[in-house]
């Protein structure tokens, strides 16, 4: 299992992501955004969290034009698995690899805390080790995590089982920290090979640090 992790100027979760996947037994490589290709043996491409290009203009707006993004798009279009975490999710929506957009949180605060999430659809490689309606406890840390999609787009997500996770309380009752449409915390594309979520599963790998619920999520990508 080879995990390639993208690094833009301002990315700051690449080493956490590397640590998490290596803990699960993967080999990893961090790839600088100026590279025009990604390693050929990549099994999973992760766009890690952080503040690419300082979030200038909009979160993810400038990163989408980095040289490596052409290779990312080609990899995704060939069916390769791509996971965008937090700023990575923002980059993937800006690049048009995932539908919708991420707006400023409704309460205008940067929110950094553990939050419960409910699994909405597990019929995909990312969440297949979990069951629908499972509740996991995963940290969130974002200013622009307020997922927006118009009503037609939302219907499309529902019909195609593209909604992965919703923000809830510990009992699975919807609890929306940031104003996201339908309390959405993560989605995938129609083909179910490009995944994006605002919460950080790579920060939930050790129960002593608050939660190890991220293990079951990231393990989905291991065959």
């Amino acid at each position: 299992m080879k995990v390639t992790i993208l690094q833009f100027p301002g990315t700051n979760c690449e080493y956490d992501t590397q640590h998490a996947f290596e803990q699960l037994g993967a080999s990893t490589e961090i790839v600088w955004h100026k590279n025009e290709s990604i390693p050929e043996d990549t099994d999973l491409l992760v766009v890690a969290g952080g503040f690419s290009y300082g979030d200038y203009l909009r979160s993810g707006a400038i990163a989408k034009f980095s040289p490596v993004m052409k290779a990312v798009t080609a990899y995704a279009n060939k069916g390769g698995n791509v996971l965008g975490i937090c700023n990575g999710f923002q980059v993937l929506t800006e690049a048009g690899l995932l539908p919708g957009a991420l707006k400023r949180n409704d309460n205008l605060h940067f929110i950094s805390k553990h939050h419960h999430l409910k699994v909405v659809n597990n019929d995909n490689v990312f969440l297949e080790k979990l069951s629908n309606n499972d509740v996991v406890n995963i940290p969130i840390a974002h200013h622009d995590g307020n997922y927006f999609i118009d009503q037609d787009g939302l219907k499309e997500l529902e019909i195609n089982n593209q909604i992965l996770l919703r923000y809830t309380d510990s009992t699975g009752k919807v609890q929306n920290p940031n104003g996201s449409v339908d309390s959405i915390a993560g989605i995938c594309n129609k083909e179910k090979n490009v995944f994006g979520l605002m919460p950080h599963p790579e920060r939930a790998m050790e129960s002593i640090l608050g939660s190890d619920d991220g293990i079951a999520m990231l393990q989905g990508f291991f065959k």
Binding site: A101, K103, L108, G179
Partner: protein, 80 residues
């Protein structure tokens, strides 16, 4: 040389939390008669051309590709 002023703001149907917060603050300061507040951003470009049609076409492309996210934002271009 042409100066292009681009105003980017959230679309009408998209909740503008910053606008709401500013509206609330204006209310607290007793500025009455403000029915709505929208917060946007302004991007000012200096272009090395005198051809207004070409400038408009270029800036429109810039807006579509980078300056605005048309999923959630509208843009207006003014050439001066």
């Amino acid at each position: 040389m042409i100066k292009a002023i681009v105003n980017v703001s959230l679309k009408a149907g998209v909740l503008d939390s910053q606008g709401k917060a500013v509206h609330h603050a204006l209310d607290s300061l007793h500025f009455e008669g403000v029915s709505d507040v929208r917060v946007g951003k302004q991007i000012i470009l200096k272009l090395d051309t005198n051809d207004k049609d070409a400038a408009m076409a270029d800036v429109t492309r810039m807006c579509e590709e980078l300056l605005a996210n048309t999923v959630i934002e509208d843009y207006e271009i003014e050439l001066v």
